[in-house]
Symmetry: C2
């Protein structure tokens, strides 16, 4: 648990910094959601006037970009290079999943803001390196990286949506499907228990297995 409410304390405060501002923004988003983030609220948390923020950040969009960058930079890319390349591919996608779980309410910010710093390219570098070590040519390596990235992003996006859909329903969510037209949705109704079951971990690994297995049986140039 981080302590961000210095506002009340009157003693000497640490210097205002872009890093401190980004950190306060992340904390605020995680506590109250991205809608609650405003320059005024962030300034309040830091016990500072709103306009002071603008000495370290050009505008709100740049602050959100800083949030996205900080979170992506927090990815743990240490997958032992001794592992086979498929294991490293899995570790890379799981590393993204990890930061997504550590900062669930910041993910929409990550999804919608460009990463400007070179730290955003570190996961790409790892992905390209492992694809090359597997013997794929450059063009294929880029496509593999993009397919893995698409799945990493989409799996988290879907999971967030699924949580919002089911987790505030009592029980297994069966009543969600009670009103559906049985002629139009026979499969959805028949599979209601499976659809209501909430096991994101298994869902995630299932799709990751599909992708990695497909990569393994892809023709290689080397």
């Amino acid at each position: 648990m981080t302590r961000t409410a210095d506002s009340g304390r009157a003693g000497r405060r640490p210097a205002l910094t872009r890093a401190r501002i980004v950190h306060a923004a992340i904390g605020l988003i995680e506590r109250e959601g991205a809608d609650a983030l405003s320059m005024r609220r962030v300034a309040g948390e830091l016990g500072v006037a709103v306009m002071s923020l603008y000495n370290h950040v050009p505008n709100k969009d740049a602050l959100l970009q800083g949030v996205a960058e900080h979170i992506v930079a927090g990815m743990d890319l240490d997958c032992g290079p001794d592992e086979p390349w498929t294991g490293r591919a899995r570790a890379l996608v799981r590393a993204f999943r990890k930061v997504a779980h550590d900062h669930p309410r910041c993910m929409n910010v990550v999804f919608t803001h460009r990463i400007g710093t070179s730290a955003g390219l570190r996961p790409a570098e790892r992905a390209l390196a492992l694809a090359e070590s597997a013997g794929f040519d450059g063009e294929t390596s880029v496509r593999i990286m993009r397919a893995l990235l698409a799945y990493a992003l989409g799996a988290q996006l879907r999971e967030i949506g699924a949580v919002r859909k089911f987790d505030r329903l009592p029980g297994d969510g069966a009543e969600e499907f009670a009103r559906l037209d049985p002629d139009e949705f026979p499969h959805v109704i028949a599979l209601a228990p499976q659809l209501a079951r909430h096991d994101p971990e298994t869902d995630f690994e299932f799709g990751l297995d599909l992708l990695v297995n497909a990569l393994e049986s892809l023709p290689r140039s080397r």
Copy 2:
């Protein structure tokens, strides 16, 4: 091209409707971006007082939900049932890609808003139906649907991000990589031309092929 600027005309106007409000919101987002959407702007476009909107839509979030629902409901799900199931799986994912391309600036709204109407379940119904016809059991069918959805979502999310990263650079974007540390990013730098090349269609089909091929070699119960 739709005509939304009735504002100036003084004659009898069509009745204010939830559908007309959603339509105006979609037009505004596509023309000026999601940030430009406000209840006041929408009301202005329809030549109506702000508060009139609230007779048909409880609040702004519900309006955005309506936008997401309308766009998802616009998916073309007519994949000839004579096709093999892999073809229908491809058609389904491509149908999502199609609406994403028809409403590029609305996609972030779609990604971040729950679909409340049953129309949002129609793609799921199709996906479950084709997985079952392929001989998968119910639990596997649900996981297949989720993997396909994750890829469909993520591929579009990635593509939007890639466009924002490269399409405003002159030439092939090589100068984007000029400042990178060669020791930290050898592969990114070596593959700069491939990374700068912008061929989302091929990227998308590459990942889709991976997934569908993996599905085809999955053990089936029937």
